[in-house]
């Protein structure tokens, strides 16, 4: 077990740089999830840790060792691939033992380790089967088993659950979390799935366009997104972003429709400037018309049972706002709703750079 | 075209490609180069020296009525083989496609002529049509037809076409059957619901959907008739009578090995090469190939 250190890590293909200098440290035993839209470089970064992509700039350290030039097999990592990459012509046992065999681990030791791992993953009855005789979830487990028997210092997961159906995904997600806690091995997990990102890791690294947008605990990232990108990327339905400006005294945000919304703390340094105002759909609270901060005209109402998703427009401005209301709310399109919001749930971003300013 | 991840640089890949590359150079590229070189030279009468003559060999070739006749004859021969063989195969495949149980049985019994060497096919057919002994001439005589492919150029051509087509039926059949089986059942069912009968469906649905297969087979059959029928012709007619079954490849062989005209034979080889290249390019361009560069 060891920590992983990224020191200004860059990657380019020819003149085309796709990762622009990533810094950060993953602590010993920590579970870090890397999340981002497709093409953000998250898989590339993971593959650089694995040694499957060359590192064109900066350093990656595993433990105290710089691994830039090290063969994948020498980095003491194990990886679980999206399509599992099981060896189709080998049995489950052979799949799990292949790496050990190459390392010339004694036969008895291989057997012991494989059987132990199979026990943990409930794969014991399937050791003699070939991958094509297994279900999706079982294959997934074999892929994990193959990683575990190696007793690596680092686990790498490359979207390991995205080939599973929704129900299995939930189940495997919990298993991975439990397993990581039990084994305590430093892990990096790449995904584009919101829920996996929020629930699995100790910390979350949000990547966009080859840059780290934010690196912190999932709740921090949810509550205090540092950038507009993070704000809209994390959370579902996505955060509403409205154009506006700060009042001249910096105490309130003024929307294009003229409503002034009081902030928790005045933002003196940005008085009068153009801003983007973020509000999570679940933070909008229905209220009486006379106390309302926002008036929304419903366009489409989606009844989910547990809650109701209201797609609406901000009175006359054409800006769309989504609100999530608990329970069943009978509503028709065109109906007018009044909302308020707690000042601490407002997110204010600089209009040009998209950086958080409150 | 190449994998995302590679093994680190080492001399290994050179060792891996070496056998194939060496053989390619020694037995393919070097001889082809030789043919190219010779096609621009004329050897003197004693074979001691040779002279660079630009396109003279080609000029001679294309003003030689015998060569031109061979050229057109080859085209005709290919076309006949393609039509006879593909036509028969198409009909058989169309019926085999209708069979649910026993399709494999029929297929097995139709594909094995593929395995017969062209020269064997030639031997068998020339035996069957042997002018004095053969079974077919015996029956043909009863019908008032005098068969002797050693005397009649047309009969010789007909026999060579028959033998060549017979051998190729297996191949065409397999591809047509595969092509038909690849047509989604739902398309045929939709047509049936629209009220199209089996024959109409075949003409308006199956045949048009098979056109890529047909096109592919046309090229394959042309190549087959050009190159792979040497054994048949050699066994049945030796190109005769009076060159009436001499194809381009056969002529390269007779001019090169029997006539010992190196320059002329080389020029003919070059012409053939150009034709193969044209066919290959054609095939790559107009057929959806799985091979990408």
């Amino acid at each position: 077990m060891s920590k992983i250190k990224f020191d200004y890590v860059r990657k380019s293909y020819g003149p085309n740089e796709v990762i622009h200098g990533i810094n950060g440290t993953i602590e010993d035993g920590e579970f870090v999830v890397i999340v981002g839209p497709s093409g953000c470089g998250k898989s590339t970064l993971l593959r650089m840790v694995a040694g499957l992509e060359t590192i064109t700039g900066g350093e990656i350290k595993i433990g105290e060792k710089v691994v830039n030039k090290l063969e994948p097999a020498k980095r003491s990592i194990a990886m679980v691939f999206q399509n599992y990459a099981l060896y189709p012509h080998m049995t489950v046992f052979e799949n799990m033992s292949y790496g050990l065999k190459i390392r010339k681990v004694p036969k008895a030791e291989i057997k012991r380790r494989v059987e132990e791992t199979a026990e943990i993953l409930e794969l014991t009855p399937y050791l003699k089967r070939s991958p094509r005789e297994l279900s999706g979830g079982q294959r997934q487990r074999v892929a994990m088993g193959r990683a575990i028997v190696r007793e690596p210092e680092v686990f790498l997961f490359d979207e390991p659950l995205s080939n599973l159906d929704a129900k299995l995904r939930v189940q495997m997600r919990l298993e991975i979390k439990k397993l990581q806690e039990r084994l305590g091995i430093t892990s990096i997990y790449v995904t584009h799935d919101q829920v996996e990102a929020m629930t699995l890791g100790h910390r979350l690294m949000v990547l966009n366009g080859g840059n780290v947008e934010q690196f912190g605990t999932p709740i921090d990232i949810y509550l205090k997104p540092e950038t507009l990108f993070v704000a809209t990327f994390i959370g579902s339905p996505a955060m509403n972003i409205l154009d506006g400006r700060l009042s001249d005294d910096g105490t309130a945000a003024i929307l294009t429709t003229g409503e002034a919304i009081q902030l928790a703390k005045p933002l003196l340094s940005h008085k009068g400037q153009a801003i983007k105002l973020g509000m999570r759909p679940e933070h909008l609270i229905r209220c009486d018309a006379d106390k309302a901060l926002l008036y929304l005209n419903a366009d489409v109402v989606e009844q989910l049972g547990a809650d109701t998703i209201l797609h609406a427009n901000l009175g006359g401005s054409g800006e769309t706002v989504i609100a999530r209301i608990d329970g069943v709310v009978p509503a028709a399109s065109g109906e007018r709703f009044s909302f308020t919001i707690e000042p601490e749930n407002l997110h204010v971003f600089d209009s040009d750079k998209g950086k958080r300013i409150n | 075209m190449i994998k995302r991840v590679h093994f680190p640089a080492s001399p290994l890949p050179y060792l891996l490609v070496a056998p194939q590359i060496v053989i390619t150079i020694v037995f393919f590229l070097w001889p082809a180069g030789q043919a190219f070189y010779q096609s621009f030279h004329i050897e003197d009468a004693f074979g001691l020296g040779s002279e660079f003559v630009w396109f003279e060999n080609f000029e001679v070739l294309f003003t030689d009525p015998l060569y031109l006749a061979t050229f057109w004859r080859t085209i005709l021969f290919s076309a006949l083989v393609a039509v006879v063989s593909m036509g028969t195969s198409l009909v058989l495949a169309a019926f085999a496609d209708r069979v649910i149980r026993g399709a494999t049985f029929y297929r097995t019994l139709l594909i094995w002529p593929y395995a017969i060497a062209p020269v064997l096919a030639g031997a068998i057919w020339s035996f069957m049509f042997h002018p004095t002994l053969g079974i077919f001439p015996y029956f043909l005589e009863m019908a008032g037809i005098d068969w002797n492919h050693y005397m009649s150029g047309n009969q010789a051509m007909a026999l060579v076409v028959l033998a060549a087509s017979w051998k190729q039926i297996a191949y065409n059949f397999l591809f047509y059957l595969a092509g038909m089986q690849a047509i989604p059942k739902s398309v045929i069912e939709a047509a049936a619901i629209d009220g199209a009968g089996p024959v109409y469906r075949f003409r308006t649905i199956i045949l048009p959907l098979l056109s890529p297969t047909t096109f592919f087979l046309l090229i394959i059959n042309a190549v087959y008739a050009f190159f792979d029928t040497f054994g048949i012709i050699h066994a049945v007619t030796k190109g005769g009578p009076a060159s009436s079954t001499t194809t381009l490849v056969y002529k390269v062989f007779t001019d090169g090995f029997i006539g010992l005209d190196l320059g002329g034979s080389a020029a003919q080889s070059i012409v053939l090469m150009v034709m193969v290249i044209a066919l290959t390019v054609f095939q790559f361009r107009y057929i959806e190939r799985k091979v990408e560069y």
Binding site: A73, M79 | L16, I23, F95
Partner: protein
């Protein structure tokens, strides 16, 4: 079948059976000829039903020198030569193509594309086209009348290389990545992963190439002047030429029967691989 039409079903089977009979007719006539004695085969009309001389003809042909007057080697010797040639071509072709395909797909190295194109060009150079100069090369290398001369010039092939390349390209990249993480080097990966995963393709290619090799005609005709190096296929032609003097169609047809047996057996016995091989190498 979309609708139920008993009459059409009847026609279907009728056409197919007639087709099979037509395709099989030449073989039947050949078989009948191989079951009669030379005398019976010399007068018209020739028989259409088998006679009783099959085993006698088989013995005469297989262990004898073939046809009287044709001066071919014993047929068993010719068949052995054919078999050795076909096996050398098959094994050679499969080995060199799978290795070069491996290099081209899994390594990045200078001249890679040059090699690719060199191999590609062989697609356009069938032996018939470069027959005279290739013969000279083989003659100069002293490879006439040898198994090497018979087989080596025929084993380079773009189609086989491309087929393996295609197979390798469909193998997910992650398999290599996973194997590398497991510590497998290039040759280990080749033998542990690629070879077992290409098994069926190798079998399919083997069927096609074996038939191709066994049925070679023009090339063996040129490079073997020594009768003892001849192949069964070219001996047929020599027998046909001798036939004008003394008709022994029973022997010729028995030889033809023997000559077609191995490749036909391969096609029928390995039909699944045969079909796969045809569709994957040519398309």
């Amino acid at each position: 079948m979309v609708e139920n039409r008993p009459f059409l079903d009847f026609v279907t089977h009728l056409v197919l059976i007639v087709g099979i009979l037509l395709v099989a007719l030449p073989i039947w006539i050949m078989f009948v000829a191989s079951t009669h004695d030379a005398v019976r085969m010399a007068h018209v009309p020739l028989p259409l039903l088998p006679g009783g001389q099959f085993w006698e003809n088989l013995r005469l042909t297989f262990f004898g020198n073939g046809l009287k007057g044709s001066e071919t080697a014993a047929v068993w010797q010719l068949m052995l030569n054919s078999f050795i040639m076909a096996m050398m071509i098959s094994i050679g072709k499969i080995s060199i193509s799978i290795l070069s395909a491996y290099a081209i797909v899994y390594f990045r190295f200078p001249l890679r594309m040059t090699f690719f194109w060199m191999i590609f060009i062989t697609l356009m150079l069938p032996v018939e086209v470069r027959i005279v100069p290739t013969f000279e090369v083989v003659a100069n290398l002293g490879m006439l009348n040898s198994y090497w001369g018979l087989s080596v010039p025929l084993i380079a092939s773009a189609t086989a290389t491309f087929m393996f390349r295609q197979v390798f390209l469909t193998i997910p990249d992650e398999l290599l990545e996973s194997a590398r993480i497991d510590g497998a080097g290039p040759m280990r990966f080749f033998f542990d992963m690629l070879l077992p995963l290409s098994r069926t393709n190798i079998a399919a290619l083997f069927v096609i190439v074996f038939i191709y090799g066994w049925n070679q005609y023009l090339w063996p005709l040129l490079v073997t002047t020594d009768q003892s190096m001849g192949t069964i296929v070219i001996s047929i032609k020599q027998m046909l030429e001798a036939e004008t003097g003394s008709p022994q169609w029973n022997v010729i047809m028995m030889t033809a029967l023997l000559a077609m047996l191995p490749p036909v057996a391969v096609v029928i016995g390995m039909q699944k691989f045969f079909v796969k091989g045809l569709t994957e190498t040519e398309k």
